[in-house]
């Protein structure tokens, strides 16, 4: 054997020892870390299991919240509807009252007018004429001015209350938006729950191969449908960005109208355009689109 080769091999072994010496403290740290992290991982495992058991409860609570919300909204609507109906009937009653008042007063006035005319022919009673005529004027004014003004004022106030009642009803649209948002949260909880269940199942399967039901848990793709639906007290289809509807409620319709306005010129000559034929703009949805694109979109709409 070449003595130089032996020398080289010894050199390599020496280098290995040097490396081992350098690695040893790191290996010790690694062993220490693993021994420390094992109980932490057990804690995490327990934590995941605890949270997993709590999640169906969180979903149930969300279902209760949305149901209570919806019931309260219905109660408010019922009450406002009753109020509105009452108000509308009061307004029409007032109108009738105004008419009744007018009829009641008009007849005596006509009578007084006749008397006044009769008296005017008798010389000695003529001196009372100004007084009688004044009375007639006052009676007429009483009807046209006082009663009518009061009744009109009440009618106006009642109409304003009816408007307010309608505003309350319109404000209740927030219930749809909040329930969609809660449905989105519930969907997220269910999603996390299913992911945790998969993780847990994988962990326990590796340990003892016990959990056989992991396959039954919904995968992330099950939630990735076009219209997302979350099961709360009823199946609620939701828009994950529904909350934007509240945040930007004043500007959103303007933005929509802006897009619609640019479609104002409708090409009626193109009858019944196929929806597929206008799909060329699909990829540009986040960009400004040209009038040609829009005209293509609106080809078939009357």
């Amino acid at each position: 054997m070449d003595i130089r080769l032996v020398g080289d091999r010894i050199g390599e072994v020496k280098a290995l020892f040097v490396l081992a010496q350098r690695i040893l403290p790191f290996m010790e740290d690694l062993f220490k870390f693993v021994s420390e992290v094992t109980p932490i991982l057990e804690d995490v495992n327990k934590e995941i299991q605890d949270n997993l058991s709590k999640m169906p409860n969180a979903s149930k609570q969300l279902a209760k919240v949305t149901e209570a919300n919806e019931m309260a909204t219905t109660e408010i609507m019922d009450t406002v509807d009753r109020l509105t109906n009452e108000l509308i009937s009061i307004v029409s009653e007032l109108d009738k009252l105004k008419e009744i008042d007018r009829n009641r007063i008009v007849n005596p006035i006509n009578l007084l007018k006749t008397i006044s005319e009769t008296i005017s022919k008798e010389k000695e009673l003529k001196s009372f004429l100004p007084e009688i005529n004044d009375f007639i004027d006052r009676m007429e004014n009483a009807v046209t001015n006082e009663h009518t003004e009061i009744i009109d004022d009440i009618s106006n106030r009642l109409s304003a209350i009816v408007d307010d009642a309608n505003t309350i009803i319109m404000s209740l649209q927030v219930q749809d938006i909040t329930s969609q948002q809660l449905a989105a949260v519930n969907n997220l909880i269910e999603h996390i729950q299913s992911r945790l269940a998969i993780i847990m199942s994988n962990l326990t399967n590796q340990e003892d191969g016990k959990r056989k039901d992991a396959g039954k848990t919904k995968d992330i793709n099950d939630y990735d449908e076009k219209i997302k639906v979350s099961h709360l007290h009823r199946n609620i289809a939701f828009d994950p960005d529904a909350i934007d509807a509240i945040d930007n409620k004043h500007s959103r319709q303007n933005t929509v109208d802006d897009i619609l306005k640019r479609n104002a010129v409708v090409d009626n000559s193109t009858e019944e355009q196929d929806t597929e034929s206008s799909s060329s703009v699909e990829g540009n949805s986040s960009e400004e689109f040209t009038q040609d694109d829009i005209d293509a979109l609106f080809g078939g709409v009357k």
Partner: protein
């Protein structure tokens, strides 16, 4: 004039119907999702105007619009989409499906009236 109001939220259906009532439109049929709405049309329910939500289980408002537009008997029905969805791509999708107008929730009665009059004017 008979309206078909389609929304999975009972609150929203009631709000739309309430608004229609204040405009003097009292004749309304309602449905809880697109499938129910389309089934009502197929069953011969006489409808002159459709107001539909977008996000609904079973059949969305977009799918309902497409179904209406591709059916010989209903393809000319005026449709207004009333939805929380307000992204540009959503509006484009709705336009491609050929809705006549588009309203974002929460809406005011004035906006609904304006769009109704506009669509009715276009269709008269």
């Amino acid at each position: 004039m008979r309206f078909l109001v389609v929304d999975d939220s009972p609150t929203m259906r009631r709000i739309v119907i309430n608004a229609l009532k204040t405009f003097g439109y009292l004749d309304v049929v309602e449905a809880g999702d697109g499938r129910e709405g389309f089934e009502k049309l197929l069953s011969g329910e006489e409808v002159d105007f459709v107001i539909t939500d977008w996000n609904m289980p079973n059949m969305s408002g977009l799918e309902l619009t497409r179904a209406i537009r591709s059916h010989d008997s209903f393809k000319h029905l005026p449709i207004i989409m009333v939805t929380t969805r307000g992204l540009k791509q959503d509006i484009i999708e709705a336009l491609k499906a050929r809705v006549n107008n588009y309203i974002v929730k929460p809406f005011t009665p004035a906006v609904l009236k304006e769009k109704l009059d506009l669509v009715l004017g276009q269709n008269s």
